[in-house]
Symmetry: C2
Subunit: 404 residues, 2 copies
């Protein structure tokens, strides 16, 4: 299992950032410094775009104390990109990799980034270029196949849980219908995290809508009306990716922008929240209806992260380097959960094509039958991933007898 | 200066919540328990609406340990309301106050709430009803007259500073134009806080727009273009209250909802962000343009608060009770800053009509001449109010020489 491939290493980041994506970068760089097979450690700026433009930085020249602080700084320290290489790009990239004698390639990202790594790796094999290639997982969507969960999810889920706890208190203060739009293109894991801070039955979120279940405006209005008549208020968490029966995102009626992977823009707009808000206002005749779209705060808010998520993000970077250097492997590092009582994980290299391109959805056991809330099974799954939530407390509220 | 008025006390919360509004409630209740002049301590649910409906809870029956946790729980523990009493309401309220022998009245809120307290107090005088009445300040907008700053502002400003720090990192990762819409109906204090986490020249926010300066679409587009061509990206913080030369809110082109104080709905919609985003996309032909509206997160996010803000919020509650009970005063408690080198404040009772109804704006020395950023004077003013921000760090980024 030893590996004698010597050369330079390059590492890059791709796709939407997370709060812990630099943990993986720093974990990989610190590990790489230990191995004599790796000579130079290059960071490519803005993913494969940086390779094509030969925009590299020398990561061996970074001070260790700074690196450790960068690990706790949200978003891609090397810059990111959303770009799928064309076959011409691949030809060009190989010329550049050869020129710089790059033999170790690490790409931190989600399913699209795994696809990019896979394309490059397949091309390397075809061209007979000796090359170790690892995808290092990250996505707040938690939708990578083969993984129990992905780095970035725990911290984003913690942010969402906290934000919704606050929104519940706000909605209790000034009752009405409140709609929170939460990220998640195809998978409902993040919107589901809205439930993780709920303390009492009457607390919100009262309803959660997932991309996995066809969204019906009629059912939605019926649900909201029911909760509103019971509690005099209603807090709803909605995934930005909710789609109709035909699988078309509800938001695509408003937005037409797509990236080179063919993804429709879902975030960075309040359109979906405003549409749903308008619907409740007009159809249910409820006065106070508000919508907030949490947007990029979910993946970039400094200071709020899950300890376990930060640790795992660091370790997948570290282990990808070990597997490439010590065992001469290619692939992606998957996080698997041990089937034991207290939370514990192990890491497993898996083939690139098993995580590339296609995503996974929430298991159906995580969504209730009505398709409008999570199950206890989801809570048990997700709680260990987010760490400690802030404590909130309520007055006992002993009523005063009315005087005559 | 002694006061022998004996009777029951009522306390209520009104207007938009803050993260520290319960500090004031708990400060007042714990103080009130010490004074024999105060017999029962009633909490009215949902402000004056709770008085009109006689929905009171017995705050003496709350456990001290729970109260102390409630103090750190965001949003109005008693529930809030947006309601200006009519003259009929006032007649009704006095009947109820007399029936419950309420002689001490404390109303936690902003300028609209001070107005409500003022109306009640004027009516009490007119009717010859012996009555001590205090407004306890709170508003994330920081726009109460007579105050150096208001409880709730420091914590909301900290949230905004942190969110924008994260957005700067996100925007650096995936460059483009990013617009963050921040609360603040008439005053730019909160949007100005976007600058408080900025570390280096190239960091965002690059531009800040205030309700105090007429917003011109042409000037805005020119500013964005200039920043974008310099840094390849641009992060903009915009107040929800930006208005045209005629003083009409830009957002009022889209939204028509108003409350009983005559305020147009500005929050709980992504419309303004989306409008500005569309403008940049179409007029400047920039591909990646995103907008986030921070919305209610700014006033309700649990766990993020400024220590100094929490302490001051507690103390204004405590001192209002002292001034009413020990000195027999009516009024509002204003926070004044001592003119000394290190940050320090004192509290001063001021007449209700001096803080009621009208708000104050940002002093012009806090806004730069171009009207698109804050001055150092603002930074010096605001930094002591928000406490410690999380540390973020950047790679040194030593470029690798290009190989031939």
């Amino acid at each position: 299992m030893s590996n004698n491939l010597k050369g330079n290493m390059i590492i890059a980041q791709s796709g939407g950032p997370t709060v812990v994506i630099n943990q993986s970068l720093v974990g990989a760089v610190i590990e790489a410094k230990k191995h004599k097979q790796i000579k130079q450690i290059y960071g490519s700026l803005n993913g494969i775009d940086g390779i094509l433009k030969e925009r590299f930085i020398d990561l061996k020249k970074e001070n260790l104390a700074i690196l450790k602080k960068v690990a706790f700084t949200p978003c891609a320290a090397l810059g990111s990109v959303r770009k799928k290489p064309t076959s011409e790009d691949c030809v060009e990239i190989f010329k550049i990799l050869q020129k710089y004698d790059i033999r170790y390639f690490f790409y931190i990202g989600g399913n699209d980034s795994a696809e990019t790594a896979n394309i490059l790796n397949e091309n390397a094999k075809k061209e007979g270029y000796e090359f170790r290639c690892f995808h290092i997982p990250k996505t707040i969507d938690n939708d990578l196949r083969e993984n129990d969960h992905t780095p970035g999810y725990g911290s984003a889920a913690k942010f969402v849980a906290m934000a919704v706890m606050g929104n519940n208190l706000d909605n209790k203060s000034l009752p009405g219908v409140k709609i929170d739009v939460i990220m998640g293109r195809h998978a409902g894991f993040l919107v589901a995290a809205a439930a993780l801070g709920k303390k009492r039955d009457e607390d919100g979120p009262h309803l959660i809508y997932f991309p996995e279940k066809p969204f019906s405006k009629e059912a939605f209005l019926g649900d909201v009306e029911k909760v509103y008549s019971k509690y005099g208020r209603c807090l709803v968490a909605v995934s930005e990716g909710i789609s109709n029966k035909e699988g078309e995102p509800i938001i695509s009626q408003f937005i037409n922008e797509t990236d080179t992977h063919g993804n429709v823009q879902l975030s960075g707009t309040g359109a979906l929240g405003d549409l749903l808000s308008e619907l409740v206002k007009t159809k249910l005749n409820i006065g106070r209806v508000r919508a907030d779209t949490f947007g990029y705060l979910q993946r970039s808010f400094p200071g709020i992260y899950s300890e376990v998520d930060a640790k795992e993000a660091y370790e997948v970077g570290e282990i990808a380097v070990k597997k490439a250097v010590l065992e001469g492997l290619d692939g992606s590092i998957a996080i698997k959960r041990k089937q034991v009582k207290s939370y514990s994980v192990f890491y497993e290299p898996v083939p690139l094509n098993k995580v590339a391109k296609h995503t996974r959805s929430m298991p159906s056991k995580f969504i209730n039958r009505a398709g409008n809330y999570v199950t206890q099974s989801f809570i048990d799954y997700a709680l260990p991933l987010i760490g400690k939530l802030p404590e909130v407390e309520f007055l006992k509220g002993v009523p005063v007898d009315n005087k005559k």
